[in-house]
Symmetry: C2
Subunit: 213 residues, 2 copies
């Protein structure tokens, strides 16, 4: 686990593949910009070749330093492919608003997204693995890993933790209002942005005192 | 454009690839279940082989009948690959809550997700294309396509509309509270669910009377 403030990470590597072609003014290869987006979302989609076809899976992730982490069961075909060296493409997208223009054509979305190309590193060192799993819980509620029961030996063994370097990566974002053609601004139709975000409600306490059947 | 109520669609096709292996009790191959999830989200991730590697892109989509639709520019490497016949894997994920368990291991997420494997069909028929684009706008606000300026000939030509059959597809979802080991229920730690959802705010009207510079 790395404290961003204390450590300098190498710059994002720009390759033809992670260079945004369309609307490139919306793109960024700045590590801080990429990190800020990654730290605001919870679910990434991992895509990779599995048994001859492209497969994808949404998954909880967290960031630490210059790596993305995911965890899960060992019995997962996608994880198995990644462990064998298949490259992953990780995608994170946050919807920030619906952009309502005066013309059908110029309707759009405000969003922040990140794409990372990377091969997975299995976190096998026991200390590092425990620290990563702590981080995965503390991200949901700071300090929580100290309050809950820690992973047992068997749970640790059964949990696969994968780390992906955030290096060949890019961010793409749109913000602001609609951009219409000049001659459309006079049309008598409401235009603007309907903002949206992931909103959390009050927690609902579990009333169970035994596992539900 | 098809009215679900008036038309019967064939059942979802279950193949080894779209059969959920892990936690299969959370899976569904019911078209209504799949449709309900698809109709609740706005952004899908399209994954496909592009120039020899797996690439992925978040994108606005909408559903009509038994197809998913996306639109965009013709100058998009992913779209070009799909038009050449590369298979797509489309993923939609909605986060419904953070599941806080009494043990680190049993922390989880409530979610609804859909994965669709499909090849794209380019919508080239002008009438069908116009109807699809209307749908894309009306989905944001019912009836809006009749209020805004319709696509010009040039805009229509420049916009690619792709349709993906929802056939080899699956849904996976988790709901409800944490499920801890029996001996952990007595631990003095808050356990439950922190619900979340995409929340829309009041619209913010665009004050511009000309395109911003």
């Amino acid at each position: 686990m790395t404290d961003d403030a204390k450590q300098k990470f190498p710059p994002i590597v720009q390759t033809p593949r992670n260079t945004v072609q369309r609307l490139s003014r919306r793109a960024s290869y700045d590590r801080d910009v990429i990190n800020a987006i990654l730290d605001d979302a919870y679910v990434a989609v991992i895509s990779a070749m599995v048994e001859g076809t492209v497969r994808a899976q949404p998954i909880y992730y967290w960031r630490s330093g210059d790596e993305l982490f995911v965890h899960g069961s060992r019995h997962n075909a996608l994880f198995e492919a990644l462990l064998k060296g298949e490259e992953a493409c990780l995608t994170v997208a946050l919807l920030d608003g619906l952009v309502m223009a005066r013309s059908a054509f110029h309707h759009s979305m405000n969003y922040r997204s990140v794409v990372v190309y990377a091969r997975a590193r299995a976190v096998t060192d026991e200390k590092e693995k425990m620290a990563a799993l702590k981080h995965s819980v503390d991200r949901l509620s700071p300090g929580r890993s100290a309050e809950v029961r820690k992973p047992s030996e068997a749970e640790l063994r059964g949990t696969l933790v994968l780390a992906f370097p955030i290096s060949e990566a890019s961010a793409k974002a749109r913000s602001g209002g609609p951009v219409d053609d000049p001659e459309d601004y006079g049309l008598p139709v409401w235009a603007g942005v309907i903002p949206c975000k992931i909103a959390f409600d009050e927690g609902v306490e579990d009333p169970n005192t035994q596992p539900p059947i």
